[in-house]
């Protein structure tokens, strides 16, 4: 029976949300193509995670070892290689996150199995996998067929599938003995740190005015700050603004920045790169202003305005009184 494995991503004592999106995909593959899904939890003292996953999938495999306490591709790839070669799942899924990007391409070489990254859709054609990926700044979709192989590795873009709900029955949990690790390691985990400590915590703000590359000039940031103040909003931004050091990292919305759940998200001059959109959650209203009618952000927003953002900033300020 062909199987699909879902690698559970966790960090600092919590399972990351993307894992549950993979559960949805795994269930879909089960439904449509008859693959048997199982979760794989790797780490140290991760039994609680296995218990959680057992409420979602019929089988959970746990590989627990002190050497696996902190993620390093070296140890996790050794474990997964061993697991995949012994258990021979047809496909192994992982989120396309810092974890997945570090692990899966390398694992692909170690196991000799093809890997497709950052997929937004995963389907099968007989026993071959076909995936869809978003390319050219989100403007084009590309369909790829993975060459025939005994097993496949796929990393999935966050937000491509809805997070799964718990299942009706509890699944089984199986302990899998970790393989022996080699005598020497080439990598060493040293620790975590917060990238930027600022006074502002945008993740709690109910109303965000978010600016992107369209702001063009750090000189224009005070205009946005003024508008944010008048609106009673907190100013946030997309990655390019932080890369240029025009605003601090604590104001960045996106996968490598903060996740926000505002009631109102007003985005100006932001094109809608996926990594940015992935940071916006919740059911608030999303309004986007951008000069480019083809900007991907209009596919994510509730309301869109095709206009020079500065004209809208000025008009809003006008309406709100000088």
């Amino acid at each position: 029976m062909a199987r699909v494995f879902v690698v559970v991503e966790h960090r600092q004592g919590a399972i990351r949300d993307a894992t549950f999106e993979l559960v949805t995909l795994a269930r879909e593959l089960e439904c449509r193509f008859g693959l048997e899904p199982a979760a794989v939890v790797i780490g140290h003292n991760v039994r609680p995670f296995a218990l959680t996953l057992s409420k979602y999938l019929p089988e959970t495999i746990v590989v627990d070892s002190e050497a696996l306490e902190n993620f390093r591709y070296e140890t996790y790839a050794t474990v997964l290689k061993d697991l995949i070669e012994k258990e021979t799942p047809l496909v192994t899924l992982c989120p396309h996150s810092a974890f997945g990007m570090e692990l899966f391409p390398r694992l692909s070489v170690e196991t000799g199995r093809p890997c497709a990254t950052d997929c937004i859709k995963v389907e099968m054609d007989n026993l071959n996998f076909v995936v869809v990926r978003s390319v050219y700044n989100g403007k084009i979709n590309s369909r790829l067929a993975l060459g025939s192989s005994g097993g496949y590795l796929i990393t999935v873009r966050g937000g491509s599938y809805a997070p799964a709900a718990e299942g009706a029955h509890e699944g089984t949990i199986r302990d899998y003995p970790p393989p022996a690790f080699g005598p020497t390691f080439r990598t060493e985990f040293l620790g975590y740190r917060e990238a930027a400590a600022g006074a502002i915590d945008i993740s709690q703000a109910p109303f965000l005015l978010s600016i992107g590359r369209g702001i063009k000039d750090p000189e224009n940031i005070p205009k946005a700050e003024e508008l944010a103040a008048k609106l009673g909003a907190v100013l946030s931004c997309s990655r390019p603004v932080v890369d240029k050091k025009w605003l601090g990292k604590e104001r960045q919305v996106g996968t490598s920045g903060r996740t926000v759940k505002p009631k109102v998200y007003l985005a100006m001059g932001i094109s809608g790169a996926f990594q940015h959109l992935a940071g916006i959650k919740g059911s608030g209203v999303f309004i986007a202003v951008n000069r480019d009618p083809k900007a991907p952000i209009f596919r994510a927003a509730d309301y869109g305005v095709v206009e020079d953002m500065f004209k809208i900033i000025d008009a809003l300020k006008e309406k709100l009184g000088r």
């Binding site: 810092a98 390398r106 903060r258 309004i287």
Partner: protein, 263 residues
């Protein structure tokens, strides 16, 4: 410290309109501006800074046609010491595995301590070449690197995780590092600077020179085969607000107030 930086020439599609060719296998390139992949530019700058601090040499390499030479020259003008061009023709349509095989051949020709590349390319965004190359070489790797600090035979790096979090790792050299944007501020390269390096020879390597045989790379050898390109389905589109800026502003404020926004 011998550093190799792998770079790619890509089209800038951020603000441009991307149009498919009738066969839906590729995009129209006439109206697009090409240049060095943004992530790779940060990698080149980082390599040069390491060289400026610790000494050594920086080599840049790309798999591309003769038109990719301008990208290499720009890197030379930034401060790289050598450049290598790998003939693109046999790699036409290659997936990241094919590209990584070619680069493996380039690495084999030198004695590098460090290989840098951008995390991903702006056009396809696979993010695979650096870790796959490391796998082929049997070297340590780290992706999403936001800082590098040399420590003798090892290198300490920070990796960018989600939510503003970072992790620090120590890797044994030689290693492959995939560089994230924002790690530094790339220097400006003037045309005069590029002119100064125009006479520098850039060797072109053919397939044999990178240790590959015909059929090992290119479309036929791909593990990832592109079937077709398509414009994303319209799906859920935003409701567009039209009118003069004043009218639009009023509507926006109304929406905000409905949702409990502005005081």
């Amino acid at each position: 410290m011998e550093i190799l930086v792998c770079v790619k020439k890509v089209p800038d599609t951020a603000d441009a309109e991307v149009v498919l060719k009738p066969d839906s296998r590729s995009i129209r390139e006439e109206d697009l501006a090409f240049g060095i992949n943004e992530w790779d530019n940060y990698a080149v700058e980082e390599a040069i800074r390491i060289k400026e601090t610790h000494g050594g040499r920086v080599t840049v390499a790309t798999i591309g046609g003769a038109d990719s030479e301008d990208v290499l020259r720009r890197c030379l003008a930034m401060g790289a010491d050598d450049a290598i061009l790998v003939e693109a023709a046999p790699f036409k349509g290659s997936d990241p595995y094919g590209i990584a095989k070619g680069l493996r051949g380039v690495v084999a020709k030198g004695s590098y301590d460090l290989v840098l590349a951008g995390v991903q390319a702006g056009d396809d965004g696979f993010g695979m070449v650096a870790p796959v190359l490391a796998g082929y070489l049997g070297w340590a790797h780290a992706t999403l690197v936001t800082s590098i600090s040399l420590e003798g035979a090892k290198v300490a790096v920070t990796r960018e995780l989600e939510g503003g979090l970072e992790e620090t790792l120590r890797l044994a050299l030689p290693a492959v590092l995939a560089i994230q944007t924002g790690i530094n501020e790339p220097r400006y390269v003037s045309i005069m600077g590029i002119r100064k390096v125009r006479s520098k020879a850039i060797p072109t390597l053919d397939l044999a020179a990178v240790g590959l045989a015909h059929g090992e790379v290119g479309e036929e050898a791909n593990a990832l085969r592109e079937i077709g390109l398509a414009v994303p389905p319209a799906g859920r589109e935003a409701e567009m607000i039209k009118g003069t800026p004043a009218e639009v502003a009023q509507r926006i404020l109304d929406i905000i107030r409905e949702r409990g926004g502005v005081a």
